[in-house]
């Protein structure tokens, strides 16, 4: 017969200081794990909302990022008239030749420069980004040194606010607008006219990449194949979504470091939980003896103490989740491909469940030995202990 759960619950309540301290220790471990998972999740959400299934990104064959890719104007002229590309309201194909580079911007209060992506793009490029909306000012004009900055940038960098002048390649640029990309990666970019950016960086012939919009998602897949097979064009294409999915790799070092730290902390907390449970077993020696006299088996003693440890750790897990919740939505930045990308922490129910499972696992390992020790006690010696 099993010992009722209330017995364990009451024990935890009676020794509330010890319970709370042990649970808090576990909670902090879980909180570290969850914070890292939330960071990685936030990055994934941002990158997932950045790509459109109809978009095809064209780069130099073998290039892994837009920053290191080269596409010539001649290649773009050939590319523009490939079948399957949608036409815009002006009757021109929806294709934009873009130049990507980075500048160093000083963040508020940091004193050090962060690398920020500059993107030169054509009018079609703006029309294609359906998720990007202007929230202040106006779009940049063609043929002038004007720029529009992402919301995340204008929030974090005083130098990138509307009306300010930014020193880019070789001249000053006026910031005329702010755009919102609904969590997309474009919120961390500065946009300007592609020809102006090219002139400013002295890169007139070699641009970085081209973005084209296909009529629908399946046409996009066909377009990718037809560009990759075109030996004369000699360029590589992939779905924009695939490109962004690959960028999540930049979070891998952070993810691994975080999980590693959480595991080491978990080892520490499981020792602490073990300590608490051993003390509980020692203090309740007479109770254990009494329970045995009443007819509870060794197994039910073992289960009871083990369950208590799991309850303790579960409580820690829940507190840990609560500790991390305020992080939800806090924005932070991470370096992706040599430039900053802003995104929010994203605490998901899934990761919270994972955190509680992690705590319970920790508690069950930590509780096993003390529970076994409790079960092994001889009835008579147990009763005699004070």
């Amino acid at each position: 017969m099993a010992i009722p759960l209330t017995y364990n619950l009451r024990n935890l309540v009676v020794r509330r200081t010890t319970t709370l301290m042990t649970a808090l220790g576990i909670a902090l471990t879980v909180a570290v794990l969850l914070a890292v998972l939330a960071l990685v999740n936030g990055l994934r959400v941002t990158l997932a909302t950045s790509g459109d299934p109809r978009h095809v990104l064209v780069m130099r064959k073998g290039a892994t990022s837009e920053l290191t890719s080269l596409v010539t104007r001649t290649q773009f002229q050939d590319l523009k008239f490939k079948p399957g590309i949608a036409t815009g309201s002006d009757g021109q194909p929806l294709a934009s030749l873009e130049l990507i580079t980075i500048i160093s911007l000083e963040a508020e209060g940091s004193g050090t420069g962060d690398n920020v992506t500059i993107r030169g793009l054509m009018p079609a490029g703006i029309a294609m980004r359906h998720n990007v909306k202007l929230i202040a000012g106006r779009w940049f004009g063609q043929g002038v040194n004007e720029a529009v900055v992402g919301k995340a940038l204008s929030d974090n960098y005083p130098a990138a606010r509307i009306g300010k002048k930014l020193r880019m390649g070789r001249s000053d640029w006026e910031i005329v607008g702010v755009m919102d990309a609904g969590r997309g990666a474009q919120e961390s970019e500065i946009w300007g006219d592609t020809n102006q950016v090219a002139a400013d960086w002295n890169r007139v012939l070699y641009m970085s990449s081209a973005l084209v919009e296909a009529t629908d998602a399946s046409a996009a897949k066909a377009l990718v194949n037809s560009i990759n097979d075109d030996t004369r064009l000699d360029a590589g294409a992939e779905l924009e979504q695939d490109y962004f999915a690959r960028q999540t790799q930049s979070a891998t070092p952070i993810e691994y470091t975080g999980i590693f730290v959480a595991i080491i902390m978990a080892v520490g907390s499981s020792f602490a939980a073990m300590n608490t449970m051993y003390a509980a077993v020692a203090r309740r020696a007479r109770e254990i003896g009494t329970l045995r006299v009443l007819g509870f088996s060794k197994l039910s003693i073992l289960t009871s103490f083990w369950v208590e440890s799991v309850l303790l750790a579960g409580l820690g897990g829940v507190i840990g989740c609560l500790l991390v919740l305020p992080l939800n939505g806090v924005t932070t930045e991470v370096g992706a491909n040599f430039s900053q990308l802003a995104f929010g922490f994203h605490v998901t129910p899934g990761s919270m469940a994972a955190g509680i499972v992690f705590a319970v696992a920790l508690g069950s390992v930590g509780g096993l030995f003390p529970a076994a020790a409790a079960a092994k006690k001889e009835i008579l010696t147990a009763l005699r202990e004070i």
Partner: protein
């Protein structure tokens, strides 16, 4: 001091608990040790002799924008400058960029200046001469050579991206460096000859060797002043600041370190407080006996605090030892090439770790110790817990 044996005996009484506590503190402290070591290497450490002599000049706008090679003549005229070397991040793809270890740093440099600049690196003289003689030669660090099992005479194919083209380099030398050497250098002439005319003569950074570490900020300022009114403005900083700036590409590393350290410290505090509370609770009656024998409140307070101190210092020391092992792993990891030199054993950091552990131990035991020392004798003796 004369109570030291008593303190040690007390802490050794419940061996299992003491060992578990020491283990718990030790494991947490080893994390803290790694973070303190990294923090100090990034932001606090004074660069070593040779490193303090090196400055890096780059385009103020960003590393992606080049500087004209002609700047060199002007930089070399600045008093205090002994040598300048062109150092350009080559990028490129080795085999398959999706595998992290293939993305080791690669630079195109001027071979005759590389080893005078990095005087702390060692390479056999004949290998150095071979590297100088052959245009397609490269040298690799010992760590890189070990990772890929490169030997002298091996060919390393790299497909350029920033500098388009297929390049093949022959390993002519393997050098040893005191810090991570997961890096490859080759002759910029080889790259230049395959570039179109208008792309030649552009450089990523100038490494500047100066004569005296004390002149470093003056030299840096005078270099930047030279180009303040030109189209390509420069930014000159110490090599250490440059490397740390590069690291910030990974995100807000500083915040990351501080927050995790805080969580770890708080965890240690809880673990230690819990242990001391348990051990004091068991001994309330004993405290009553000690008081009857004439021990003062202060002595009893000292006994309990001393016990907490002993346990946490032991945990701190063990944790620091584990952290040196972890740190060596961090240094040898593929990321190590991007990090500033970490000192695997640093007496200052060891002292900081152990003191910190001791301090946490003292703070955590303050409440139970005060409670025990203040308890009235009669009540303490009556306690059955």
């Amino acid at each position: 001091m004369r109570f030291l044996p008593l303190i040690l005996r007390n802490s050794w009484r419940n061996r299992r608990r003491t060992l578990l506590t020491i283990a718990s503190i030790g494991v947490s402290m080893c994390l803290l040790g790694v973070m303190i070591a990294m923090y100090s290497a990034f932001w606090l450490a004074k660069p070593k002799d040779n490193q303090a002599l090196r400055l890096v000049t780059r385009n103020r706008v960003s590393l992606a924008v080049f500087l004209p090679v002609a700047y060199r003549q002007q930089i070399e005229k600045v008093p205090g400058v002994r040598l300048t070397m062109i150092d350009t991040w080559f990028g490129g793809v080795y085999k398959d960029a999706r595998e992290a270890r293939n993305n080791f740093p690669r630079f195109s440099v001027e071979p005759e200046k590389l080893f005078p600049l990095f005087a702390e690196w060692t390479i056999p003289e004949d290998q150095k001469q071979a590297f100088l003689r052959e245009r397609t030669a490269c040298v690799v660090g010992r760590d890189l050579a070990n990772t890929f099992n490169f030997h002298l005479g091996d060919r390393i194919p790299i497909r350029g991206d920033i500098f388009p083209g297929d390049f093949e380099f022959t390993v002519r030398g393997i050098f040893d460096a005191p810090s991570n050497s997961n890096v490859m250098f080759f002759n910029k002439e080889y790259i230049d000859q395959s570039l179109p005319e208008r792309r030649r003569g552009m450089v990523d950074t100038f490494y500047v060797l100066i004569d005296d570490p004390q002149h470093s900020s003056r030299v840096a300022d005078s270099i930047d002043a030279l180009f303040r009114n030109s189209t390509a403005q420069t930014k000159t900083e110490s090599e250490q600041a440059f490397v740390v700036g590069f690291l910030s590409l990974l995100g807000n590393v500083r915040m990351f370190l501080v927050w995790i350290s805080a969580a770890v410290m708080f965890t240690i505090l809880l673990v230690s407080a819990n242990t001391m509370a348990m051990s004091v609770r068991e001994r309330v009656r004993e405290v009553g006996v000690l008081k009857t024998l004439g021990f003062t409140q202060g002595t009893i307070l000292g006994l309990i605090l001393g016990e907490a101190l002993a346990i946490s210092v032991a945990g701190g020391a063990i944790g620091y030892l584990i952290s040196t092992v972890l740190l060596r792993g961090v240094e040898r990891s593929p990321m190590g090439g991007f990090l500033p030199a970490l000192r695997v054993f640093d007496p200052v950091i060891a002292a900081v770790c152990i003191l910190l552990a001791g301090l946490i131990g003292l703070v955590s035991s303050l409440v139970p110790a005060m409670g025990a020392s203040r308890a009235p004798i009669v009540e303490a003796l009556r306690s059955t817990d």
